[in-house]
């Protein structure tokens, strides 16, 4: 075995073990790497009360109610949903069917008290005419159903 070849094999072995090690670390920290929990996660995971968390999902259709600056709505992942209450200004993209991430605490009565609402943008880009045309043909798929 020449020295070059040996260096090549050592390099490949080192990179392979590094890859495996990082994969294990990432899997181990899976729970800390998610930016938000879905309403279904809240059902299955037992999260300590009074802990600040983020929940994410779609704003459920016909669930938005505004009273002054306070907005009440439900966030759904189509399997489960949770009631959210938020006081403050909403991002421009906020509307029913839109992906959102809410930051706050789970309050009494299972209502999530949010103090920050972020709009999530999906991966689709199109001009307004195209969006209208798709809606006209009934092919429009709301986010989350993909």
């Amino acid at each position: 075995m020449t020295r070059k070849r040996r260096r090549l094999y050592v390099l490949i072995a080192a990179l392979a073990s590094l890859g495996v090690a990082s994969a294990l670390v990432l899997v181990a920290f899976q729970d800390n790497l998610v930016f938000f929990y879905s309403p279904s996660d809240l059902q299955t995971k037992s999260l300590p009360a009074d802990q600040r968390i983020r929940i994410g999902g779609l704003v459920e259709a016909e669930s938005v109610m505004r009273e002054g600056l306070t907005t009440r709505f439900r966030v759904t992942d189509t399997a489960h949903s949770i009631a959210v209450s938020y006081t403050g200004l909403l991002p421009d993209l906020f509307r029913e069917g839109q992906g959102v991430v809410a930051n706050g605490k789970l309050g009494p009565g299972g209502v999530f008290i949010a103090d920050e609402i972020l709009a999530k943008h999906d991966e689709n880009y199109m001009p307004p005419e195209v969006a209208d045309a798709i809606k006209r043909t009934g092919q429009w798929k709301p986010e989350g159903s993909r």
Partner: protein, 254 residues
């Protein structure tokens, strides 16, 4: 190993060795440079025209979508330049070609620049779209780590007086950082992130309307030509600087 792969390996190896000769590389660089510079200028003019003027607004982002034409190619180049830098570092470590080390060294600041453009334009897009400049989600954080990897790589080159040792230390850092590349690419699929999943390179095909894909691809070509042009320019400077230091040392010893 059978005959054919061995012959192919020998052919690529001999080609690699020929271009690893700095004189040949300098000559090739001189011939390539005007073309890539011309291509870069042309693609930027056409690409920016389509990106900023002759393309439609998005149905929900309105004009904010135009940031995408600057942001997305910068992100691609940030990853691509790092992959190129790591490949050159591996070649430098295994085959000890100084030209491979110098190519990686020359590419690093350009890649860091692309990463910075990606981070800054991403923040400018995030504020109107998401409602925040920055969040610590997996995609944004891993790209920030990429930026620090570039900076660390450049700093390591400066940390040693002996260029051979500097090259080896920097190359090892570059190769360790490679694990970050798949994390960046797949972070949006593996974990819940605020950042949206991929729009162009997906298994189902692009999720961008063709009228918006065209300016994006033109801009990506412009970025690539820009990288090639600046890389050649910087590589030439690195080769000449290395020669000058060898000459200085020879004179001091005589």
């Amino acid at each position: 190993m059978s005959g054919l792969p061995r012959a192919a390996l020998a052919a690529t190896s001999s080609a690699m060795h020929r271009f690893a000769n700095p004189t040949v590389a300098l000559r090739l660089a001189d011939r390539l440079m005007p073309w890539s510079a011309f291509l870069c200028a042309g693609l930027f003019m056409v690409g920016l025209y389509y990106a900023l003027i002759a393309s439609p607004i998005d149905y929900q982002q309105r004009d904010t979508v135009r940031i995408m034409y600057v942001h997305v190619p910068a992100a691609w180049m940030a990853l691509g330049v790092y992959a190129m830098m790591a490949t050159a570092s591996a070649v430098g470590l295994v085959w000890r070609h100084p030209l491979a080390d110098l190519s990686a060294k020359a590419a690093a600041p350009i890649g860091a620049g692309f990463t910075l453009i990606c981070l800054v334009t991403g923040a400018l897009w995030g504020q109107p779209t998401w409602g925040t400049w920055w969040v610590w989600d997996a995609r944004l954080t891993s790209v920030l780590i990429l930026f620090f990897l570039y900076l660390g790589y450049m700093a390591l080159w400066q940390a040693y007086d002996d260029p051979g040792r500097a090259a080896r230390a920097a190359a090892i850092l570059a190769l360790v950082g490679v694990v970050n590349l798949p994390v960046i690419k797949f972070s949006v699929d593996w974990w819940n992130t605020l950042h949206q999943p991929a729009s162009v390179f997906t298994l189902q095909g692009p999720k961008i309307d063709p009228s918006m894909l065209k300016p994006l691809m033109l801009m990506a070509g412009a970025y690539l030509a820009f990288f090639v042009t600046v890389l050649i320019y910087r590589l030439k400077a690195e080769i000449l600087a290395r020669r000058a230091s060898v000459l200085r040392r020879a004179r001091a010893e005589s």
